[in-house]
């Protein structure tokens, strides 16, 4: 009977020869691959370290990163309003020449300005202007309708006696009507209207209104701020601008930065069918499972958009 060959199950000379030969093999991954891997890992580690750090007061208050720009805008609006309005209370040096007969109104009556109906009822409660005032009383809509109806120089005039601003926020000159110098009460009423509007903006947290109003009044506008890198990255991904996308990726910013709707550059590229941008972002380590604030993942978006190629690419990078 023919004997069976030796089994060679255990490590033997074949293994030794393999290892020896492997040592002589100069083949290595490229430096670019090594750099890509390590930089990607470092980015993820930084994100994890941030996540694992002690939670700040914003997090404790339940304010997610998506709401932080809105919060910052509200705070900025409050600060701007404070700078503009505060001198009314701190510097009463410029007193109106003519006595103002408008009695102060409690602050509580100012608060409902945001509601036109409440504002109208408050207006009815304000005593009539003195007969000496030539300025016509504006219809109630002139205040509540739009801040653009404010006088051209309202921003500078708002620095007047606090009693005026607080006492007559509901009385205003008609839109665009300049208060004559001989009619301080009218000027005061237009200033009061501006003050009310500012307060309304502050209450509503609409930061953009104040600079826009300033521009319309001839205040030199600050140059538009340069586009943020994260925004530029998302825009390049959305429109499939690969050159810009590569440039932004080379800058090394947060590849998974989100817009107000929680969408990453990868999600925007997916939604717009930018297959090349999707591949490029994934190759640079974009999170294939970064869902937007509604919980939609890039893969779900690709499937919904019938982008089978993008869906396949996402799946290959671990998208679920």
């Amino acid at each position: 009977m023919k004997p069976l060959p030796p089994p060679h199950d255990s490590p033997d000379d074949a293994d030794e020869r393999y290892r020896r030969a492997s040592e002589l093999d100069p083949s290595r991954p490229s430096e670019a691959t090594r750099h890509a891997v390590l930089s990607h890992a470092a980015r993820l580690a930084a994100a994890r370290a941030r996540r694992g750090a002690p939670r700040g007061w914003l997090s404790l208050a339940g304010i997610t990163p998506g709401w932080r720009p809105a919060l910052a805008g509200t705070i900025a609006a409050v600060l701007i309003a404070g700078v503009v309005v505060a001198p009314q209370f701190l510097a009463p040096a410029v007193a109106p020449q003519a006595p103002l007969t408008v009695p102060p109104t409690p602050v509580e009556s100012v608060q409902p300005v945001a509601s036109p109906a409440t504002a109208a009822s408050a207006r009815r409660a304000v005593p009539a202007q003195p007969a000496a005032s030539p300025a016509p009383v504006a219809p109630p809509e002139s205040v509540a309708r739009s801040p653009r109806g404010a006088p051209a120089n309202a921003m500078t005039r708002v620095v007047v006696s606090g009693s005026v601003n607080r006492g007559a926020p509901k009385v205003s000159t008609p839109a665009g009507a300049a208060a004559p110098a001989s009619a301080p009460a009218a000027a005061a009423s237009s200033d009061a209207a501006t003050g009310a509007m500012l307060q309304e903006h502050v209450v509503a947290g609409r930061l953009a209104v104040a600079p826009a109003a300033a521009v319309s009044r001839g205040v030199p506008a600050a140059p538009a701020p340069p586009e943020a890198p994260a925004e530029a990255l998302r825009r390049a991904a959305a429109i499939g601008d690969l050159a810009t996308l590569r440039a932004q990726l080379a800058r090394g910013g947060d590849i998974d930065a989100r817009d107000a709707a929680g969408r990453t550059a990868l999600m925007l590229a997916t939604l717009n069918g930018r297959a090349d941008a999707v591949t490029l972002l994934l190759a640079h380590g974009a999170d294939a499972n970064a869902a937007d604030e509604r919980g939609t993942t890039p893969l779900a978006a690709a499937i919904a958009a019938n982008e089978s190629g993008i869906a396949a690419t996402l799946s290959r990078y671990g998208a679920r």
Partner: protein, 190 residues
Amino acid sequence: MSDADPSDETLIARYARGDAEAFTALYRRHELRVWRYLERNLGNRACAEELMQEVWFAVARDAERYRPTGRFTTWLFTIARNRMVDALRARRPQVSLEALGFEDASVSERLTADPAAGPLAAAEARDEAVALRAALTQLPPEQRDAFLLQLEGDLSVEDVAAVTGSSFETVKSRLRYARNRLRELLSEYA
């Protein structure tokens, strides 16, 4: 790895908590093993480079999900093998895994048959490293895969069986055939 060096499992846990240096150490420790596994299985440097990134990206991304119930290298080479199989299937759906293109399938034949290769190339052809590559390409894919998993991943037969989804006996048989064939081929090339 000296006794003072942290284990793979310690490093991946540290990385999952945000320690980038731990990942760097882990990568440098296993870079060459994963590279050899991919490149020698694929026989294509460009594909291996791409997959190398994918594998380590996956390791980085899923580090938080790693549970030290098994060895890190088993997890690592499971990822590497899955990525390799997925990529091959996605890119060459019409080609079976048996017939995957190995660019270097005839390294030794090319080097010895090419009259323009010259004495230097002939000398290189006798080089043990070249001979090894050539020998590996002569192995059936399953045998080569099992052999590389065991040698580069330092995996046991049980681990190779788990990674490849094969039975213990099947893997044992593949490894035996692979070693016998390699021994023969390396003797020929030597």
